[in-house]
């Protein structure tokens, strides 16, 4: 309950801060539309030459594009800004102030930076998914919706754990921002179904940098091509990474000496 109250307070704070820069909102709408247009043109060029990309038909790839935009929105809304701030504070030594607060530090560092306008990407992603599903003529039942939500949450949890572990590395390495810039480039790979990549790249994009679990698998759930065992595996993988990143974070904190102390 207290956590929900805290989350609400942080949302309010971030909303107030962003309302001071209202032109950013229009800039964000422009950016979201541009990035969506980018994806659509890519699909148009591809499907000018083929009717299916590795068993994925245009409507299904459109679902994937929507999920890609949606998940990217979630990452940019809260995960990336929070973790970037965490790393900046380790570098500048101001993290000490957060650690002194009488709340769970992992919770605080994970919710205090929210880039409200990134909600545009999430809304736009949902619209694309909706249009694509209507185009496919598919009726999404309650079961399918539930699988989609489970896959989406699990994918988000895996990406979050990955970022938290990388950010925790900054306790020792101090400067790791570069690694996170690379994530933006790697996330591009999630635009396409993971099955097209050669096995070494597929492995990397699933376990080393978990990009595709967050995009391909929820999309598969929506178009009804996700087998139960895969969903179960992803959910377990998500739990495992959450526990692992929690442990690593606490381990890192014990080794953190602060910059000024």
């Amino acid at each position: 309950m207290r956590y929900i109250a805290l989350l609400r307070r942080f949302l309010q704070l971030n909303l107030l801060r962003e309302l001071a820069y209202r032109s950013n909102f229009y800039m964000q709408i422009f950016q979201s539309l541009l990035s969506l247009g980018f994806g659509l043109v890519g699909l148009a060029v591809i499907f000018d030459h083929t009717s299916a990309l590795n068993e994925w038909h245009p409507g299904e790839l459109l679902v994937l594009l929507g999920v890609y935009q949606l998940v990217g929105g979630v990452i940019n809304l809260v995960i990336q800004p929070c973790m970037q701030q965490l790393m900046r504070e380790v570098h500048q030594g101001t993290l000490d102030f957060t650690l002194l607060k009488p709340e769970d530090a992992q919770f605080l560092v994970s919710i205090r930076q929210i880039q409200i306008w990134k909600l545009c990407d999430i809304v736009l992603g949902l619209v694309v998914v909706g249009i694509a599903l209507a185009h496919l003529g598919a009726t999404v039942g309650a079961g399918q919706m539930l699988t989609f939500l489970v896959a989406l949450v699990a994918g988000g949890a895996i990406v979050y754990s990955f970022w938290l572990m990388l950010a925790t590395c900054s306790f020792w390495l101090v400067r790791v921002e570069n690694i996170l810039v690379i994530f933006q480039d790697l996330y591009q790979a999630g635009r396409w179904p993971v099955s097209i990549y050669p096995s070494w790249l597929r492995w990397t994009l699933t376990f080393l940098v978990p990009v595709t679990v967050a995009t391909t698998i929820p999309a598969q759930a929506l178009i009804g091509q996700l087998a139960w065992p895969t969903l179960l595996g992803v959910a377990l993988f998500a739990l495992l990474t959450l526990v692992l990143s929690r442990w690593f974070w606490l381990f890192g904190l014990r080794h953190y000496t602060g910059a000024s102390a």
């Binding site: 422009f30 591809i46 000018d48 030459h49 083929t50 990309l53 570069n178």
Partner: protein
Amino acid sequence: MKALLAVYRAQLKTSFLMYLQYRASSVLWLLGMVLEPVIYLVVWSTIAGANGGAVDGYTAGDFAAYFLVLLLVNHLTDNWVYYEFQERVRQGLLSPLLLRPIHPIHADIAQNLTYKFMMLVVMLPTAGALGLVFHPTASITPLSLLLFLPSLVLAIAIRFLVEWSLGLTAFWTTQMSAVIQVYYVGLFFLSGQMGPLALFPAPVQVLAQLLPFQWMLAFPVQLLLGQLDQHAIVLGLIAQTIWLCLSLAMMTVLWHRGLRRYSGMGA
């Protein structure tokens, strides 16, 4: 002229030492650059496989050759002067540079060249390793190699001048402007980063002929791989020369206009 050479020698040396210090992060930057061509190589190869081996005459091996050469040419023509210039103007770092008795573009050129050639040490083996994985097929003749070199130099110069000019827009706007974002989207599709321009619809190809993007990237790549006829090569070299003059003029005008506006923020 002799003084300028001495300046370049000194700049090359300092930037060499600087990058040596940050070699780990420089290598990380490369990783991101390598992945994109690999993604689109995989996408096009998949389509070629599904279409019975080729897309409009491009086999999987042709795509591999195209994207591997593209990877190298993209590395050689790439720069981040736009981003750096924005920071300079925003933080007032430009002021000390203006006090020097030499145009600041020379330092940027030297720094950029150092990075490119240092990183070739990593880039060439990476391209080689990818070559072993994706099996490119290409027949590069001595003549195409000979013509490739000037077109590569022209491509590097055009892209550098255009993006330096884009950086100069920081004099007028202090926020990342919409123009820059549209530029990068245009660059991706029209420079051939997504795939050979021949695979795009005809109106897009005409547009690509008129804009500078393909002369910064796709033209040298296709020239080297022998995918262009005599007519297209001559036309391309002329287009590159025209764009070099245009971008040089644009840079000069924006620089003089911008300097008059610049009041030294933060200084």
